[in-house]
């Protein structure tokens, strides 16, 4: 086999893996969009916030330490404990549920039945708020996140492929873990939204807030539920990305990597998020590999969007999105 082809295969596989990581972020968007028609701009910040909280709890940091110290002249920083990862994850989940409750109570409760762009705007406000809040709560330094996930090249694959091609493929262990988790998440979420009463109610709410209210669906409950779910997905994404790059402000920017995925897969489709992720991941990596060197590289950011755009021209609702109903 020619070298270029072997390399292309490696790039392809890594593209798939990268795609899964994008999809993890995109899933959170899909959940909320599906249940409320809200395009949740703050999903990235939620991932950051979840990861920050997780690290904070694990390391026993005192929340708002800086604020407290600045106001009272004290010098407290740590509680002095170190929690095991699992316990910290559960606690963080609790925090995310509280967040979901607060978001609903303080914001979306008052914005029922508003146009999508207004709701979108509200999530922007929320993103601003949480950005500041997360920083005040846990500090703006870069934190190392280690919940014990394996990371680095998978030697087994490296060796096997070396045996086959004379060139060992690089596959990151973390990506493998992410893929498994993402697959489980997607299956569970699909089952939930298609086959349960709450799932149906969730889709109903997305279509028409008022009508949903009129049949007795509690928007409150549905929204707290999906925001919690989205919080959970954000936490998972936060763990994966945080392990890769440390927990820091830029974690919130992964949202930008999820958007083309979302658009390609369809805002309303859970499987779409995964398939979209895979296509985007592979597409952008292969493009960078094959065409990138000719036009100066660093093409991934825009190419992902252009790729999604091309798909959209043919399917304006994304690959799996609900058909946009146009009637008069």
């Amino acid at each position: 086999m020619p070298d270029q082809l072997i390399f292309a295969m490696e790039v392809f596989l890594n593209g798939l893996m990268a795609g899964v990581l994008y999809a993890l972020v995109a899933l959170g968007f899909v959940l909320i969009y599906k249940a409320s028609g809200i395009f949740n701009y703050s999903q990235g910040v939620m991932a950051l916030f979840a990861a920050l909280t997780l690290v904070g709890i694990m390391e026993g940091r005192v929340p708002f330490a800086h604020l407290i110290n600045a106001t009272f002249g004290t010098e407290i920083h740590h509680f002095g404990w170190h929690l095991p990862a699992l316990a910290a994850i559960l606690l963080t989940m609790g925090v995310m549920v509280v967040l979901a409750w607060a978001v609903n109570k303080l914001i979306f409760n008052h914005l029922v039945n508003q146009e999508p762009i207004i709701l979108f705007m509200a999530t922007i406000g929320l993103a601003y708020f949480m950005e500041g809040f997360g920083d005040v709560m846990w500090g703006a330094d870069i934190k190392k996140l280690d919940v014990g996930l394996p990371q680095g090249i998978n030697t087994a694959i490296d060796e096997i492929t070396y045996g086959w091609f004379g060139y060992g493929f690089f596959i990151d262990n973390l990506d493998i873990v992410a893929t498994i988790i993402a697959a489980l998440l997607v299956i569970a979420l699909v089952m939930f939204s298609q086959y349960t009463k709450q799932g149906r109610a969730m889709r109903a709410v997305a279509d028409d807030h008022q009508a949903a209210l009129s049949v007795g669906i509690s928007l409150n409950f549905i929204w707290i539920m999906v925001w919690s779910l989205a919080g959970f997905v954000a936490l998972v994404a936060g763990i994966m990305w945080g392990t890769k790059m440390g927990v820091q402000f830029s974690l919130s920017l992964i949202a930008l990597k999820a958007l083309p995925v979302l658009m390609l897969g369809g805002f309303t489709s859970i499987p779409g998020a995964i398939v979209g992720g895979l296509i985007i991941g592979v597409g952008e990596k292969l493009f960078e590999f094959a065409i990138g060197p000719m036009i100066g590289g660093a093409t991934e950011n825009w190419f992902a969007y252009v790729l999604a755009l091309i798909f959209l021209v043919f399917r304006p609702q994304g690959l799996f999105g609900e058909k946009i109903i146009e009637r008069v």
Partner: protein, 275 residues
Amino acid sequence: MLDAAKTQTETLLEVNNIEVIYNHVILVLKGVSLKVPKGGITALLGGNGAGKTTTLKAVSNLLASERGEVTKGSIIYRGERVQDLTPNDLVRKGVIQVMEGRHCFEHLTVEENLLTGAYTRAASRGDVDADLEMVYEYFPRLKERRRSQAGYTSGGEQQMVAIGRALMSRPETILLDEPSMGLAPQLVEQIFNIVKSLNEEQGYTFLLAEQNTNVALRFAHYGYILESGRVVMDGPADDLRENPDVKEFYLGMSDEGRKSFRDVRSYRRRKRWLS
């Protein structure tokens, strides 16, 4: 048709002198009071913009989602003030509204739409399926289209979905907003017959807002006529049907019987009780 015994029974829903304001500035209801007796069919009549929909929404607490609020008066259901309940609490209490203009869940199939109606019920699968069958019996057309997305069904079909969906919650009181709108004549008849049989056989209470005064007064026991946010007349349906003003303005009858729509071409100043 008025059943004197029925009007004597307990008042299920009582609206006392409510005022509704939209957007903090637009005053729409200027003191509306009504009483809905248990097991009765009460009709709310009135022209466009009289405030029928607003009244119903005030009762079902859907106003908040339209930036409207009840600023005065009270709404009592079964002797309990319900103004501050959420719409879903109210549905649990047995009050459900069929909204004007259908409001189906476009992306759900017809059947899924109907199933959402059973959201508040803790009923078993079997019960729900039985109710589904009941709705399909009332509206065979829906059975044919059960797997289509509601967004693609015709206007009339959507109206059936909306009503069927409300029935699925097995309510005690149904607030029906313009059920006849956009329906073919025999279907209008059919829907009112369904209302009647639900009322008589299952004891459902109805408060219905309707433009089609003719049909409404034929099936209702008691009627209220709203104009510009005020109740201008009320009485047993039969009395209203005989009232000459009602006859002229709401039933389109003149002394010579029904007028042809062709005959009203000449300009005619509207007579109003108010304004």
